[in-house]
């Protein structure tokens, strides 16, 4: 049995709950044992690091300290979110590379009765342990419903294969782990050179024009290559490409409809789980048509009640489009 300490991260029970549900559905077929870190806190995403250094790393290190304290018969922490993975892995690495940082962080941790000796734990991403510990052979054996005929582009995102101080990935810019895993599920994997290009991260919140440009590059390229869906390993990537695709379409005057699912959702389907068990249906860009290609029927859910725009009535602020300058639109 493969046993790990799980650091879920904040998005796993909210925006990326489909990721958590589908992860739960594959632990049994793959004989994985995930033990959640008790009372873990937010890793600070990419925000805290840009304000204060020592508090940011202390926030991250509290999780490492809790995990190390909890360690029973494993010293490997698994994070399904790329940003969480990077923060935990980077903190562990920098505390060793720069001993003064390690000492200060430990001084802060001591105020809460904790300590962490950098290097004690192995921090790894979920897909890393699935491909390299569980192994593609075991995954292939668990497949009962191969995804033959489903055309997918593997989207690894940026924070997973880079900066990769621990040398875990096959390549920094064109890693093949996700391609290999999806092929093991029987999917028709399309080569996707943008696989580690950025989705915009927090730019959807602070500089939407910049984010829309990055999302547009990814979605239009996947579409041109004939993909029926994108497959991701990161809650942030899923959120940006799924939830902001509509706004991006308005901005560019395009009409893309590119669903993006978590790789664990496709694993669940290939292992014979029902769509509802793997969180399918909560994505905003529906994957129903794409999944119909492999004979998976997604039940039609009640569409959310959206206030309809009336033909007559008071004029409302218009949607923001590329043709309106940024300055006029925001002010």
């Amino acid at each position: 049995m493969n046993k790990y300490l799980l650091y879920p991260g904040c998005s796993m029970d909210s925006s990326a709950k489909a990721y958590m549900e589908s992860l739960n559905s594959i632990v049994e077929p793959l004989n994985l044992h995930l033990e959640e870190i008790e009372d873990w806190n937010c890793c600070g995403a990419t925000e805290y690091l840009g304000i204060n250094l020592i508090p940011a790393y202390s926030l991250i290190a509290r999780n490492l300290a809790l995990a190390a304290k909890q360690t029973s018969d494993t010293r490997t922490v698994v994070a399904p979110c790329s940003a969480c993975y990077l923060n935990l892995a980077k903190a562990d690495y920098y505390m060793q590379e720069r001993p003064t940082l390690g000492a200060k962080v430990n001084e802060a941790l001591a105020a809460g009765g904790l300590e962490y000796k950098a290097g004690t734990l192995d921090v790894r991403h979920l897909i890393d342990v699935l491909v390299y510990d569980v192994g593609l052979d075991a995954i292939r054996k668990a497949v009962t419903h191969p995804l033959s005929g489903l055309k997918v582009v593997p989207y690894m995102g940026c924070m997973l294969p880079r900066p990769d101080y621990q040398h875990r990935w096959s390549d920094h810019e064109h890693p093949t782990e996700l391609d290999d895993l999806l092929r093991a599920l029987g999917a028709d994997v399309i080569d996707y050179p943008l696989t580690t290009s950025c989705c915009g991260g927090h730019m959807t919140q602070i500089g939407p024009e910049t984010a829309f440009e990055l999302i547009h590059r990814l979605v239009s390229d996947a579409d041109e290559r004939g993909a029926q869906m994108m497959v991701t390993v990161c809650p942030m990537c899923q959120m940006n490409i799924d939830a902001y695709q509509n706004e991006m379409n308005h901005f560019f005057g395009t009409d893309f409809h590119m669903p993006i699912l978590f790789f664990t959702q496709l694993m669940g389907l290939a292992f014979g789980k029902e769509p509802g068990e793997v969180g399918i249906g909560v994505e905003l860009v529906s994957s129903r048509n794409a999944l119909a290609h492999i004979g998976v029927e997604v039940p039609v859910t009640q569409e959310p009640a959206v206030p309809r725009k009336k033909d007559e009535g008071l004029s409302m602020p218009r949607r923001w489009t590329k043709h309106e300058g940024k300055k006029e639109a925001v002010k």
């Binding site: 937010c42 840009g50 900066p163 959206v306």
Partner: protein, 198 residues
């Protein structure tokens, strides 16, 4: 600091070389930044997916740091546009921790109140405020506060998305809180004191 030689004065150099800003940024950066090792090759700017929107490419910014242009550097939008994709980091021949230097510059710009556009600093501060209150992220609270403050006109167009996220259970109405908030507060308060004395 090197003494100014007669030759340098004759060459028209009227100011002392001052690397203190470069060293300050380097020391404030997590890990070993290698910032001083930059050879101005420009691989960073050429690898950057958002360089087109930046006031200065990373290469240019690092040259400005070396030249001691504190205010210009801290007013630059470059660190705020960095999406932390680490493309430049893995390509840099000198192994400069470029993304981490950008984090350092953001922090310095916030402390010096020298940023030009407040959208990004406010977002970071609101996010951190949520984390310091609950120990976890709180998307609905963050989004509501941030959009009302910075993108009120974007809100109507985003209603379908917001409704979708909530009705599909992807955005919790109430925040989740960790059990040992007191412990986290103690750690963060001590960490802030340590930051000041560094």
């Amino acid at each position: 600091m090197p003494q100014m030689t007669d030759e340098r004065v004759r060459a028209g150099m009227t100011r002392e070389e001052d690397l203190s800003l470069l060293h300050e940024v380097s020391m404030k950066t997590a890990g070993v930044s290698h910032l001083e090792m930059c050879i101005q090759c420009g691989t960073c700017g050429g690898s950057c997916p958002v360089a087109a929107d930046m006031d200065h490419t990373p290469r240019m910014l690092f040259a400005m740091l070396r030249a001691g242009m504190r205010e210009e550097v801290l007013r630059s939008n470059t660190p705020w546009l960095c999406v932390s994709c680490y493309h430049c980091v893995v390509r840099c021949p000198q192994e400069v921790h470029i993304a981490d230097v950008m984090y350092t510059l953001k922090g310095m710009a916030i402390h010096a109140k020298l940023y030009t556009d407040s959208t990004a600093p406010h977002f970071s501060q609101t996010f951190v405020g949520m984390v310091e209150t609950f120990g976890r992220g709180y998307e609905l609270g963050l989004a509501t506060r941030h959009y009302l403050r910075h993108f009120p006109l974007r809100l109507p167009g985003m209603m379908p998305m917001g409704f979708g996220m909530i009705s599909k259970g992807r955005m919790a109405i109430t925040p989740k809180k960790i059990k040992h908030m007191d412990q986290l507060h103690a750690i963060l308060n001590r960490a802030k004191e340590l930051e000041l004395t560094s």
